[in-house]
Amino acid sequence: MSVFRDRGVVLRTIRLGEADRIVSFVTESHGKVRAVAKGVRRTGSKFGARLEPLSHVALSGWQGRGDLDIVTQVEAIETFRGIREDLERVTVGYAMLEVVDQIAQERHANPRLYAMLAGALRVLDQRPAVLVGPAFFLKVLALEGSAPVLDQCAACGEEDVGSLVAFDLVHGGVLCRSCRRGRPLSPAGLVLLRQILGGELGAALDAGRSEATEEVSALMTEAMESHLERRIRSLHTSLVP
């Protein structure tokens, strides 16, 4: 057993025994960590309040030889109340946690993934930006080396923006008028995708809900689900009545 200290975001928790939970974190330096937190389900436990999904915490504990660690101390860094108290935002938050839970590997450090999740949650906490979730998916795909081709036709290399009219997962990006297949992509949708990957994320996040943002949302959900080879459950389970 060795002591560990790290920062992380709580991805999910599972009940264990009478009052304990197994908590999954994505951490800065230890990748995904699954740890037992004792006594946290008792309502008097302050510890428990900090170990809710979405919470950004500083944690310390014991790293065991098996696949479960033990978390002994937790300090809150951010609680993201803005997300928790809004049904639409909590849905997006859940989807991001679910994706990171699938991608992060246990005890395999991925500081960029951790930083991207914390950053995306911070934006979502501050404002209900419609593209936070889709932009996060696209950034994660790029981090995974699976960014779609956006600067030219993924099939023939055509670069004329005006002729790029479709998006196809098989070809891994946008397609021109003569190669078109997959889903149609509007010029405004392409602009948003390029902004997200091209260093103008802020501009994309300022976008209000429109046909183009809906298009980008659908495309990025599809791209991420194809990358994960499974459905993102949170996006198919509606919390909004």
Binding site: G17, R42, T43, A49, E52, T91, T237
Partner: protein
């Protein structure tokens, strides 16, 4: 791995399937049962059988019941215009211990958890909405666990119920985030009930 033969191993296996009981405990309990007088062990067996044969879910509120309606739904002295919505029958028991709530209950049998694929259709939400008009409900108290799933469930219900012109309240003060309702002490839970407040949807 079957270490013991026949009935001994099957009891160990069955006990090991229970929540919170590992293989070691399962073995310990089995050997304890082997040692105790026969009638003590049979009383346990009979209690298990009685629970499985007689206890059902209340057809109205999904609390535990002995066939048909639960004791609370059958009790005419309860206020019939108020429903307290909880996740689990154990939460009904916890609320009852406060002796502060005189209305009826509705047990959702869980909380919304999109990552696990638990949406409104997986819970007894439709049944709750179906009770409002026939029973002349005026107030709904949201008594979900004070954690992320519970909060999301409460927000979902508030949004569904508010437009219907009901008084919708939520257990609030005194309950720290992240715990399970069944572990709240009576004082804390009582204070939360007294301090319940209107919610926005």
């Amino acid at each position: 791995m079957a270490v013991y033969s026949g009935p001994l191993q099957s009891l160990i296996d069955e006990l090991g399937r229970l929540p919170g009981i590992g293989p070691k405990s399962a073995q310990r309990i089995t050997f304890h049962l082997l040692k105790v007088p026969k009638e003590d062990a049979l009383r346990l067996a009979e209690a298990v059988i009685a629970v499985k044969e007689r206890i059902t879910l209340c057809t109205r509120c999904f609390n535990v019941a002995e066939g048909g309606l639960c004791a609370i739904c059958l009790d005419d002295s309860r206020e019939s215009t108020s429903i307290c919505v909880v996740e689990d029958p154990r939460d009904v028991a916890a609320m009852e211990k406060t002796r502060l709530y005189r209305g009826r209950y509705h047990v959702l049998q869980g909380a919304l958890n999109p990552i696990e694929g638990i949406g409104p259709e997986q819970l007894r939400i439709g049944e709750l909405l179906g009770r409002l008009e026939p029973e002349g409900i005026e107030e709904v108290v949201l008594g979900m666990n004070p954690n992320l799933e519970g909060e999301a469930t409460a927000m979902h219900l508030a949004r569904a119920l508010k437009p219907l012109g009901l008084r919708v309240t939520r257990l609030a003060s005194g309950l720290p985030v992240g715990g399970d309702l069944e572990y709240a002490d009576e004082l804390t839970l009582g204070r939360a009930l007294v301090g319940r407040r209107e919610v926005d949807a």
